[in-house]
């Protein structure tokens, strides 16, 4: 029987992800608190992505303990799995929208499937979706099919789709990949507002300056090393050569 525990939203103990190409040598202990932002940094995008997916429960190949929203990820019932997928939203830069329906329906599909807002009729749900999308970017056109929506707007619609489920953790996998400078700043300010409202963010990005500047904690990963730092200062003072060499590429602004 998988019972709820007192740990944080995502809790792991001696966690080592499995990967067909890499062999991670160090384990991670982590407890993600509400309203906390953790960034994953390191030289390899694929390795960071593997860590992020494992922490979200999307990579079944791992060793150690992993708890998602208080339930053991390895022993979840179908309902617990569904709850953890609703509670821990994962958005990748290439997350696909449903190609057969327009942007608005894409945002509404999961929330209607899970019947999150039980008292809302279709009109209220639509208003909610439009308000959320406008909060992210008012220029997004929701009437078009995804094929006619720009890649950066698709990422924002995918984020809105995930946020409509009222998740407690938002995992962002390289979300700024297709953004230009202004769009990146706009989306970053939206993320910051969400963190202030209590949403936990766990993210990997190529915008390392943003990750270092905004995160409450920083997780450095490569094949040989996994280090969790409580602050940027702690990260900068790290004695491990690979971490120091990596961070030297990104001096403080």
């Amino acid at each position: 029987m998988n019972t709820m525990s007192e740990h944080g939203l995502i809790h792991c103990n001696k966690l080592v992800p499995g990967h067909q190409s890499y062999r991670f040598r160090q384990a991670l202990d982590l407890d993600l608190k509400p309203g906390e932002m953790i960034s994953i940094i390191g030289p390899s995008l694929e390795q960071k992505s593997c860590w992020l997916k494992t922490l979200c429960g999307l990579n079944a190949d791992y060793s150690g303990e992993l708890e998602l929203l208080g339930t053991n990820a390895g022993q979840q019932s179908l309902q617990q799995w569904t709850d953890s997928r609703k509670g821990i939203a994962y958005v990748h830069a290439d997350t696909a929208l449903l190609s057969a329906v327009n942007g608005l329906i894409n945002v509404l599909v999961p929330v209607m499937y899970h019947d999150i807002y039980k008292d809302d009729d279709r009109h209220k749900l639509t208003d909610r979706a439009i308000a959320l999308v406008n909060e992210i970017d008012p220029d997004i056109c929701l009437d078009e099919l995804p094929a006619y929506i720009s890649r950066q707007h698709q990422v924002k619609i995918a984020t809105a789709r995930a946020l409509m489920l009222k998740p407690r953790v938002l995992a962002l996998d390289n979300p700024f990949l297709y953004f230009d400078r202004d769009e990146r700043k706009q989306f970053q300010s939206f993320i910051n507002r969400k963190v202030e409202q209590g949403l936990s963010i766990i993210m990997l990005t190529q915008d390392i300056r943003y990750a270092l500047g905004q995160s409450d904690r920083i997780l450095y990963t490569d094949e040989d090393t996994v280090c969790l730092f409580d602050s940027l200062a702690a990260c900068r003072q790290c004695k491990i050569e690979t971490v120091r060499a990596y961070l030297e590429q990104y001096p403080d602004p």
């Binding site: 994962y90 290439d94 696909a96 449903l98 599909v109 999961p110 899970h114 489920l165």
Partner: protein, 277 residues
């Protein structure tokens, strides 16, 4: 000596093994495939009933969309084919059999050949070529583009959201289409015969209607629902079996069409045995 015997007999033994082993491997592969299909469809239907309530209209949006695509959108094609069947089969059957036997024989022939055999089979072929292939391409493309994974990451059960509505919708559509096809094929054939052969043949309409016993109606309904169920299951299964390459899509579509046709033939033979044996 032993070495010579070994060298001489070993190729023969290999050949014998190959010949006798082939039917076994063929049987195991096909039986395993049928078990896979049954499990796949049962899990989909089970998940659908777990998630949805029968009297909740919101549960039916996916199923209704499938019925509209499979049933309503196909009506012009079905109407044309029904009229063609009426002329090619019903009219000729009446013309030939009325010269050989009595009215009862003609009615029996119409019920057996048109209602219970030709109509379900031709409707199934239309649904295989139209809906079955569309389902494989639709689901296959969703799989290739990562839409299926994205839905699963949002906690959406694919069985309940994608597979079950297609199976239920296609089953209902197959039944409805066959009823429509049968009516068109019979009416048009009887009307042509009435005009061209004998005006009294108009009475066949009532006679055919009354000759449908509850047993025949049950067979008709079950047969058509099974046809639709099998066609959609095979299509969904093949669509979801795509792994990552776009080149697999036409292969899976072809495989789905061939497999569905094979299943329809086998099921039709089994029903014929049940009905006439």
């Amino acid at each position: 000596m032993l070495d010579i015997a070994y060298r001489f007999f070993w190729p023969l033994l290999r050949l014998l093994d190959h010949i006798t082993g082939w039917p076994g491997r063929f049987l195991i592969r096909n039986v395993t495939y049928v078990i896979d299909l049954v499990t796949f469809s049962n899990l989909a239907i089970r998940d659908w009933f777990r998630k949805n309530r029968l009297l909740d209209s919101r549960s039916y949006s996916g199923t209704v969309n499938q019925i509209i695509f499979t049933g309503v959108d196909a009506l012009p094609t079905i109407t044309f084919l029904g009229l063609a069947t009426g002329f090619l089969f019903t009219y000729r059957l009446i013309a030939i059999s009325s010269s050989l036997g009595g009215t009862e024989d003609v009615v029996n022939l119409l019920v057996t050949v048109i209602c219970l055999s030709a109509a379900p089979f031709l409707s199934a072929i239309i649904i295989i070529s139209r809906t079955g292939s569309a389902i494989v391409v639709d689901i296959g493309n969703m799989k290739l583009r990562g839409e299926v994974d994205a839905l699963e990451n949002l906690g959406i059960n694919i069985n309940d959201f994608i597979v079950a509505p297609r199976i239920i919708g296609t089953s209902i559509s197959q039944l409805a289409i066959t009823v429509y096809f049968t009516v068109i094929a019979l009416l048009s054939g009887i009307l042509i015969s009435t005009i061209w052969i004998n005006p009294t043949y108009i009475s066949f309409i009532l006679k055919v209607s009354f000759s449908f016993s509850p047993f025949l109606v049950t067979i008709f309904v079950i047969k058509n629902i099974i046809f639709g169920y099998v066609i959609a299951t095979v299509a969904c299964y093949n669509g979801l079996r795509l792994r990552g390459s776009a080149t697999e899509l036409p292969q899976r579509t072809t495989a789905s069409i061939v497999q569905s046709l094979t299943f329809i033939f086998v099921i039709d033979i089994l029903f014929s045995l049940l009905l006439f044996a």
